[in-house]
Symmetry: D2
Subunit: 382 residues, 4 copies
């Protein structure tokens, strides 16, 4: 397969910028593919588009140049300081495929906005003569979306759009536009994205696959191996408390309690669902500007063993969120492109390994998710 | 199946005492089976002897009564203070099946000692008309065993025994005695146990199964889920440092640098073998008397992600080692008994889930080990 | 000095029960005075009433016997299980000096309630022919108290009481009753207590001393040494985040956001006031029922050193809040009694060492506070 | 005062390089004086030489240019990447005052080596027409020095030097050379330095002051506030365990068990001496190359409170050792210069605040040490 595009909604954000500069750096031989699951030694790669052949574009309301954003992130310690300069020409090329704006205008003219978004994506595909494009949402987390009648069926949604008053969050607009353009879609955030019955119907109608939600990059990744460990050993988890300190744009956005609510919902389900009983404990997401692009999570778990012995585990995870997320964005774009090429439509539960709140599957056990992913890849992402 | 005995070498130690009082408490309806893998809801139980039907005995050089040891452990917080009193009669019954002494005399009269150990085990089986007995070694960790000619073949070993001068550590004597008595064997410690070619030959000759080594109860349990997590995400682990603080008898024994060496060897292999490359970092085991029956492990891991971003994970595990180990001893006795009944002889790599340094298998991935155990149990431990 | 009484508002709570059983245990030779500052070897003791001579009584709305509460706390691990039984007679004697009820009825009949509270305290003093009594508030934390005209002067307060409608929180009622009875007062909680101008006026009128607020027992104790350490080394603290997990009655009460607000205000000031500039970072207090009488605090501090080097400190404090608080309650009662005997009236800033939010002093530096306390004691608490 | 020189033994090491580039950066207005105690707002500065007027030189066996070392350290994250280039000319000027070599040749020709070292220092002073020079030892930590007859008196030492066979470690040679050149001396390492009776005699003979030993920059700094906190509250510390993970040259040197021994001795005394009773617990220093210029210390403390309640504190300190040490080197040079100017000779116990193992004083309480330092400075370092 050749000619795969990745269209990033939120293309000037930290995650998207890191994904782009990373793919360019690997192509230029300036970096290794550490952090990409699909590039793990021995991982079955049949059918995946080449990492070095990906073409990038996207929407963003901001207009700060990508090269400038890359310099800021390098300064924050995310990658070597000289990388942006060494990739100057490549970044400038991507800049040409960035459309300033996005779903922000949707309330004024929904039908027009959606058509324009879709045309932007299709135009990118045509301009580069790409076989296909995967749209990835990495815009800031939205508050939870209350149910609406027009979300229930595609017909109702189309009527509401035609009437000029659909209640459609930005994340759902990008999914709509992707599907209308015949593209696969990934929601890397906890926003609603494609998770509306109307949009699922649209994806199936257009025979395109989609995946989500909310990339699993830190605290929840650890929960996904630790909770099954406790379950397997038949240890009783009594409480699981977590504090997440984030800087950067992500932290600032999540300082908004309503946006944080979506994140907390996505994070909160795993432990109880894995163990099969409710587990008490607070879960906080806090903005600490000084952390810059880093995040620090502290989790404290109390559990009981044989004869009621009381024990505890605590961990502190210190990482660069974008460095953890960016390679997964590239992985997901490749898997969704391959599934699209293999004829899959609708949700891809085989990609649960990547998500905090995976669509279409119940298990949160990371090892089981990994095995499912490996089988999927070995079978050509069919 | 009915009538299964568990013969514990080191029966008055913390782990054995907790295992016995725990099984008695579950039988009496005074405790739940938390911590037993074989009692996890939904776990395939076909073929396992009933937990409540197990009969206990063992060797120990000490002569402090089991009821007294139980009181000490209750005082240290391992289980409810009133449990020893409530199980007074049951503990007294087990006391009758404890033989003071053990392999300690072996250097003076090896052949006689081995025969006596074997007769003690067989006598226990006969006295209770048991179908079979599993011998479990929970004696203090021994220093590493240097290779010896008489360890290489059963014939050579028998000659050396007859000549009165075999170099046979205590742990190997218990394995020898178990096999000679026609019993399965578990080595829950990092000592050499049955891991001599001569003893493997004997186990096969007597058609008995065995399992080991070194129960995986804390830091290494965590490593067995965390190392595969890093590997799966293609993150590069640069260092993994660990400090283990232990009180109790186990800590005091491991304060002996030579004994600690065995433990460190068992603990140290997992990370490098799982990741496929060597990982630097010190690993300490220290005795801190004040911790009593508790242990505290701190691990510090540095790793690199995409574009070289430097990140870290640290965890602190605070637990009662015996509360973690005792249910696994009961699990293992049941699995080995079932395998024996099902006709298995020689090592049981299917039980790798329980061990730091599993015999006969390469993988340290806890999830893979768990799946193998479940399949084994579902298939009747054949 | 002889004959000192300690009247505890909230006498059946964890802190009060632990203080009483502790003083009784020391008197009976069953425990040491670990945790009492005033009993530290070499600490100047002149003028302090004997620890073993203290007489206890108090108010509490609950009627569960003190001996029963002591058993519950022993079961939770706060002190040896056999202590309540061994002190059975002494606890029964204290029980006779406990008045069920308290300030709960104040809104119906303020003047009557205040008179009754005061009479209860005076009656206790007379019954035991005590030289003096110190009233200590250890009732649950109240929400912050908004300013009211009747709080401004004693005359206004008396008028409002006479008119039957003072807005007087329970903690202030105990302070009022204490002062009216001619007793010193300690507020060990962040509630308003004696910190109303009208009550300060009353204390001076009656020539009695008082101290507060909010005992410094864990996270804030650590802040009081760590913040000066950073300041002394001229290191720039950029963020200080804290999560406090509490079980027990204290945790349950603080799960009420309004009550937690008082606590957070008391805890939050120290770092900024010590360093002289505002420091960002969230501060959480969460209820985790499983922790029982324990609390766990995790603090994460980021700071910058020479040439902007970015560094961090994190700590985890695991303790029994009542075991930390109870000896300080005894210390405070003794210091306030001695100050009363020495003729002091009004606030005692010399006792800042004990409080998160000390009355009448600006410094939060623990070492400076300790020196001031020592001088105060050496000078006879004058 | 004007014209003060700082002569660094080990001038190309991380600490010295950071101290030099830092002083140059402050002078050039490129950095603030964060981390310098003597520049803390409100700190009495009378008599201290200006930070921006210090002149640097030193000995080092290595010949890698200082500018190159600065680039390496900037790359490791110690300071901004562009700082070395911006200070290029200033660094080149210092380069002219660096003598390649040092005490390494002393065993071949002791008298000649000592005379040369002394002449190098005096030459530096004369070349820049400095009022005085302070020699600071920041060479790698040496193994403990066994007692020798020639260390006992200055006469014996001079005889042994004349005879060509003194057993004089490098650190002591720098102290000898400093004193002979009429200069004050600081030992920032745990090496023996000036702590030989013969050298103390020499310092008094030449009327020069000296200070040491072993800069207190991380784990021990925390111990110096936490141990007094426990003591003040009369809490019983039962164990204090510590693990120090270091990369960089310091870590590599301390991977040598004999050198680590000196460090462990300096670190180990504080807790027991502060509390007045021995406290168990292992103390490790380990080399983890991946940490680069960073170090991570984890300490675990168990303690008992009132009625025997068992509690714990653990902390993790993550810092750049050189960023913590370098400003203290500058502070110390300034304080010793001022003391020299004020006529002090012999040890300066007033500088205990800076050291793990302070000369001439018993207290390890950081707050008390700070007060003593402040008084000393306020009194003109007399």
């Amino acid at each position: 397969m050749s000619g795969t595009g990745v269209w990033l909604a939120g293309v000037r954000g930290s995650v998207a910028t890191t994904a782009i500069i990373g793919a360019l750096a690997v192509r230029a031989g300036l970096a290794e593919s550490t952090g990409l699951v699909s590039e793990r030694p021995g991982f079955p790669g049949g059918g995946l588009p080449e990492l070095t052949g990906l073409v990038f574009g996207g929407h963003d309301p901001a207009d700060v140049p990508l090269a400038k954003r890359a310099e800021q992130l390098a300064h924050a310690g995310l990658f070597p300081a000289d990388l942006p300069a060494r990739l100057h020409d490549d970044l400038a090329a991507v800049e040409n495929d960035i459309v300033t704006g996005g779903a922000g205008d949707r309330t004024r003219d929904p039908a027009g906005t959606l058509a324009r978004l879709s045309a932007d994506i299709a135009g990118f595909r045509d301009r580069h003569a790409l076989d296909r494009v995967v749209v990835v949402n990495v815009t800031p987390t939205e508050p939870p979306t209350p149910p609406r009648p027009e979300h229930a069926t595609l017909a109702a949604l189309r009527r509401a759009i035609a009437d000029g008053a659909p209640e459609l969050p930005a994340s759902a607009c990008y999914a709509y536009a992707a599907f209308e353009a015949g593209c696969g879609h990934v929601d890397f955030t906890p926003s609603v994205g494609a998770r509306l019955p109307a949009l699922d119907e649209l994806a199936r109608e257009r025979a395109v696959p989609y995946a989500g939600n909310d990339g699993k990059t830190g605290e929840t990744l650890l929960k996904a191996v630790l909770a099954p460990m406790f379950a397997g050993r038949n240890l009783r988890v009594n409480s699981w408390s977590g504090t997440n300190l984030l800087g950067g744009g992500d932290g600032a956005n999540l300082a908004d309690a309503r946006a944080a609510e979506s994140k907390l919902q996505a994070k909160g389900r795993l432990v109880g669902e894995t163990l099969g009983y409710p587990v008490e404990g607070p879960l906080h997401i806090d903005y600490v500007a000084d952390l810059g692009e880093q995040k620090t999570a502290w989790d404290h778990v109390t559990f009981q063993g044989f004869l009621g012995a009381r024990m505890s585990l605590q961990f502190t995870w210190q990482g660069y969120d974008s460095a953890l997320a960016a390679p997964l964005v590239l992985d997901l774009a490749r898997f969704v492109a391959a599934a699209h090429a293999a004829g899959r439509a609708g949700p891809l539960p085989e990609l649960a390994y990547f998500f905090k709140d995976p669509i279409g599957t119940g298990t949160h056990d990371l090892a089981a998710q990994y095995e499912r992913l490996r089988s999927f890849a070995a079978g050509g992402c069919r």
